[in-house]
Symmetry: C2
Subunit: 222 residues, 2 copies
Amino acid sequence: MENATRRERIRAQTRDEAKAAALRQIAAAGPQSLSLNAIGKELGMTGPALYRYFAGRDELLTELISDGYHDLADTVSAAATAVAGKSPAERIRALARAYREWALAQPHRYLLLFGTPVPGYAAPAHTIAAATRSLREFLEPLAELAAVARHPDLENQLATGLADRDGKAGWNGVVLRLGVTGWTRMHGVLSLEVEGHFETMGFNPALLYEAEINDLIESAVG
Amino acid sequence: MENATRRERIRAQTRDEAKAAALRQIAAAGPQSLSLNAIGKELGMTGPALYRYFAGRDELLTELISDGYHDLADTVSAAATAVAGKSPAERIRALARAYREWALAQPHRYLLLFGTPVPGYAAPAHTIAAATRSLREFLEPLAELAAVARHPDLENQLATGLADRDGKAGWNGVVLRLGVTGWTRMHGVLSLEVEGHFETMGFNPALLYEAEINDLIESAVG
DNA sequence: CACATCCGTTAGAACGTCTAACTGAGGTTA
DNA sequence: TAACCTCAGTTAGACGTTCTAACGGATGTG
């Protein structure tokens, strides 16, 4: 038993090393040039050896994506607990800041999650759960702001489509609209920033991001 | 002369055929699996023959990107002239609609422009011009709405950074902020929609998009 | 007609994923 | 201890990719 566990441990360890090497390579030259052979070389073994650990290149990539969603969600959750006592607006700002810092600290990883999807990839259930988890942290403080209805059709669809996703919550449509809107606005700024589209435009994207967050908060209180 | 022109014509024609085939392949299986050999086969010739027309895979890709920016800009410009007489709000809605329809009609192409950037790609000058051209069409109707200042720091940076980009215009900072904000909001919705992130969420992205546009217009009039 | 230019071919190097068969070490069991 | 089995890693090789190089043939030019 204990020996079997030992094998499992070193196996998991080399899996992690391989994933770390993969992230380094993606950071260096983009997801397209991720090479199992090169990863093997970095770990001190040959290419085909990695097929003992991953079914193939695609599985390694999907695992990196899945890990990324969980890591991002954990980061946002940590930020949420860190500012638990403050005002709703302050909490929203803190969550948005954590979201942005995660993306800018590892832009390649953010693009892996939200950039062009890899062709054969279909998100497993627990990954979608993690993906929405980072979004869900925003709902609580948003709900505390006295939200006003502005787009009834959309809000109704969201209320029926997303409400009882997790058993208990049951968020109202206005809060869900604010959450989704916040998500798309953050992503709009972040993705263009990470891809360098703002580079020649001579302004600080952080200001744009903050402006979007503040607008969202203002529109929530009415 | 006339013979030389003839050669040029068929050369340009096979170039276009190659690009069309490339777009088909990208639409079918993503940008990663774009293969010069396969394109050649589709045109009835061998792979290496294409090197008479393109320096390599990367050049073909960058040309597709460049073409895409121009096509998108042309589409938005056409929409602008089509609604020249109407109210500013109506014009903005029409431009946004054209922008969205272009993206949804050819999602792979939208992702080619705004998804994960290809590693070796650096946009040539005329491409950046085309990229900003689709955005610039929004500025005129936005300026006609009596725009109120909301984020002075950002607006000042934009005014000094973007104002005299093209010789004459000289847009004020508030208008530029609305333009950039509109861009990031449209992109935020469109990119997530095109990548299928809304698929399991049970709402119609068109409503979200319209809501964003209407919010932008409302916030512009103050 | 002779010549030059250009287009497409085949051959091959280098690199990628991935499969198959083999070797050797680790851990389990009689 | 001895025998066995599982698993990690190796090499060999099929196949596809980009891309270069050398060659043939067609097209257009003097």
